[in-house]
Amino acid sequence: MTEQVTEKDVQLWVGPQHPGVTGNMSVQIWLRGDTIQMGRTHVGYLHRGFEKLMERRKFIQSFPIVCRICVPEPDTNEYLLAAGVEEIAGIVIPEKARWLRTLALEMARLAATLQALGGQVGMMGLGTVPNWTYTLRDYILDRFEELTGARIYHMYIVYGGVRRDLPEGFAARMEEDLRAIEERLPFIDNLIFDNAVFRKRAIGVGKIDPAWIDEMGITGPTARACGVPRDVRRNSPYLVYPELDFDVITAEGCDIFARAQVRRGDITQSIRIIRQILARMPKDGPYCARMPNMLHWTVEKGQTYVRAEASRGEMGYFVVTDGSDKLRRVHVRGPSYVHAVSLLERMLPGTNISDLGATMVSMQTCPPEIER
């Protein structure tokens, strides 16, 4: 790729201090006019050595760590760590815990998708929609607070099930919030998908080649925007997803607009799934399996890879245990790992500098899961 860059190109660092990148990361670009000739992603500004820290923590102590791997959507991380260790240890979680876990995952997906949809237009300079969607996301965070006691880092899913039962009257309040979201959605649709300027900015911009999907392992809305129905919830079902009725949203075009459409469809589907869960969840029964004393718990030697659908795509945990009371190794495979490094560097040549931020947001880049 280096032969595309000549001496007369302007070298520019976008980030880490830059409002146009998603979080604390940076993209080094070479510009000719307004066109990017080449781009390199640089990460590591958020590195905390989580995988090292988990080698020193007991199993239960790892939960406060994993939920900090992706800030907008921590529950997927908690679920994956729990699922991986449970699979090796051979623990079966009770029925109600499966429903509650799905509820937490889906609420997190809804919150993160709302944030991403707002950020998508916010990155193009329309400040109105992000203001609305962040508020709607805050309603979900309120329900999270009620369910788990925390706004951002929930630590709700633990080995064997979940930490708490559903509070009294939760379903009614959740329904109220979902209605509030649904009331606002037509306005958001109007401002995004019927907006002439947004269509001009988004259609045909940030295109990816459908052939890259299999080659590079592109997942989530980025793949679904190419018409490829890649969704772990459907393809490799986990928890209660096989019992639920939902559609895998796809769109055609492979561009930013198609990804925004997929996100918009995901919001509707998430609302639908949350309603189904709240209606069909078993009323009683244990929400956590009987677990041994967490201070002395040891898990036999084994290794596995578990995956779940985050709002950004397939998230995977490679979990290795060695028979002690600590994890041997956890390796997180976030969707951004491929999307924001290899894929972005491949997409950037030929892009206008104005579209850089919009392209990054359209793949919902989350830097902490790249460097952990």
């Binding site: 201090q17 992000p130 962040y134």
Partner: protein, 214 residues
């Protein structure tokens, strides 16, 4: 929330009357205003402080995971603009640097540059437990533990993460401190630049920053 703690690994005493300047370049001319004993100047200082307190421009740099709560703070639910707090995208035009959570050493290098480029008077808000004592990352090899060894912190907001209400509380405290003229962090940074530099160089192994990033 606390004021800047004054003892950390033995802060060197500054002899009264001397203005040490670091590394050959004299920053004392860019210190901003110092408190003056004359009363009419105090009155002017009060007016200036009132203006400064009511127009805080925060640099848009999310250094850590705490920045996730800055966005609800800036948008419709918590709306920090009603207090006159606005986000500015360039360090040249901002006064407040929020260290949102843990700071990896790679980031610390950039943060120092950003901080030095901001015009005086400037303030640093440490957000989250990780800036105070390392928090849950106390044994991590990649993050710094005590923020005020490297930057002069004016207000700490405890919690992980601090809620937006706590952030508003922290900003209110900062405003109160500015109005009363209690924030001397930016003067302290220049006066003890050598000490700060020493600390910074202690953990930034490949030091390639300039003497002072103008």
């Amino acid at each position: 929330m606390s004021n800047k703690p004054d003892l950390l690994h033995g802060v060197p005493e500054i002899p009264a009357g001397s203005v040490p300047h670091a590394n050959g370049c004299d920053q004392s001319c860019f210190l901003g205003e110092r408190p003056d004993p004359l009363s009419y100047k105090e009155a002017i200082q009060t007016v200036k402080n009132w203006f400064r307190a009511n127009s805080l421009w925060v640099i848009a740099y999310g250094t850590g995971c705490g920045s996730i709560e800055l966005r609800p703070l800036g948008t419709a639910r918590f709306d920090m603009e009603r207090f006159g707090i606005a986000m500015r995208p360039t360090p040249r035009q901002s006064n407040v640097l929020i260290i949102s959570g843990y700071l990896s050493i790679k980031s610390l290098k950039r943060v120092i540059r950003v901080y030095e480029q901001m015009p005086s008077p400037k303030w640093v808000v440490g957000l989250g437990s990780c800036t105070i004592n390392g928090g849950m990352y106390w044994d991590s090899y990649a993050t710094m533990k005590v923020l005020d060894l490297y930057l002069p912190v004016d207000v700490y907001i405890a919690g992980c993460m601090p809620r937006p209400e706590a952030l508003i509380g922290g900003f209110k405290e900062l405003m109160r401190m500015i109005k009363n003229g209690e924030t001397k962090g930016y003067i302290d940074y220049i006066e003890r630049l050598d000490w700060y530099r020493e600390n910074q160089k202690q953990i930034i192994k490949d030091w390639d920053l300039p003497d002072y990033s103008w």
